[in-house]
Assembly symmetry: C2
Homo-oligomer: 203 residues x 2
């Protein structure tokens, strides 16, 4: 496409580097920004640069935070359970369910030899360290990883590493999603939901 201005062309180029945004959407966004007050555009630009420059990761749970000490140790959290997730959005998703009040541990990825990511490239060592240090307090480690080959490999590796600590290691349930019809559920999920069946309670 031929752009009417080099400034537009550069902005489109930069915006379309974002995931899920093509050249057409980028152009639409750029032209939208042109019509907005100066302060809004500056606010957006500043917030992005500040985010990138000032963000910290909690030294304990590796979650994104403003300071190196995040709120992972506030008193109302159940400090006897650690939920292990791949990335920060997973933490938000699990928090939003309201079903979990324990601690978190962000791996920052998953073991994926295809992408050159081994166990040493993600925060497994600090997890083991953390469990060892608080061995009296921590009762359980919940693995909340993707249900993919890489996620399963990562879960298996972590479970093996934690074996010597004697802590209980569990994994989130796999099965038919709530609202899902059996007819449309894929065979593997259905198979897992049968092999992982739980007692039906009438209480």
């Amino acid at each position: 496409m031929e752009y009417p201005s080099k400034l537009i062309e550069r902005a489109v180029e930069e915006i379309s580097k974002l995931p899920g945004i093509g050249k057409k959407t980028a152009l639409r966004l750029a032209l939208h920004l042109l019509k907005q007050p100066d302060s809004q555009v500056k606010g957006l630009a500043e917030s992005l640069v500040e985010l990138r420059e000032q963000i910290k990761y909690c030294s304990t749970c590796h979650i994104i935070a403003d300071k190196e000490e995040c709120t992972c140790k506030v008193p109302y959290r159940d400090t006897s359970v650690i939920c292990v997730v791949e990335d920060t959005p997973d933490v938000l998703a699990i928090r939003n369910t309201g079903q979990y009040t324990g601690l978190f541990h962000v791996l920052g990825g998953r073991i994926s030899p295809m992408d050159g990511i081994g166990p040493d490239n993600i925060h497994i060592d600090t997890l083991v360290e953390r469990v060892k240090q608080d061995q009296e307090e921590i009762r359980e480690v919940v693995l909340a990883l993707s249900s993919t080959m890489e996620g399963d490999t990562t879960a298996f590796y972590i479970a093996k590493m934690l074996k010597e600590t004697g802590v209980k290691v569990s994994t989130i349930a796999r099965g038919v999603p709530i609202g899902g019809e059996l007819e449309y559920t894929d065979e593997i999920t259905l198979g897992r939901s049968i092999s992982g069946r739980t007692l039906f309670s009438t209480d």
Copy 2:
């Protein structure tokens, strides 16, 4: 949603002001940017601020440009036709068809009393001026406006204003889109396509 960091929260707030981007997408984009090199984030931020601060509008055709004199008068353009459009994306869309080599005139909106936009708020006066000044050269003004109440009102107003100049005023064809089936075309479009039928040429 509870964000793990004030910086993330602010970035999400700013990004989600963009059209078509909700809080969830904004969070995804913010977390994506965190993983990108510093230079990319700075490049994006800079390009947006520069776009907003340095952009100019051509003083003749009001198209977005780097300088106040745009390329609207390059020799390979047909300077006897002016195509009137509402906004810059329309110019790009029409240029991309390859069916038009003439000049453009960007109104910067359309007459819409509901939104408080009258004929004086868009660049109709400069269009009339332009036609009057180049009366010998300009043969035709093509109105390429939206097929809406506001677009039609604007077209009607412009045609009336140009009447005294004696220049030919045409409007782009309305009808069944290429590839469109009659069965699924709405009644108004079909009606217009019948009343505006053209001679079928077998040459």
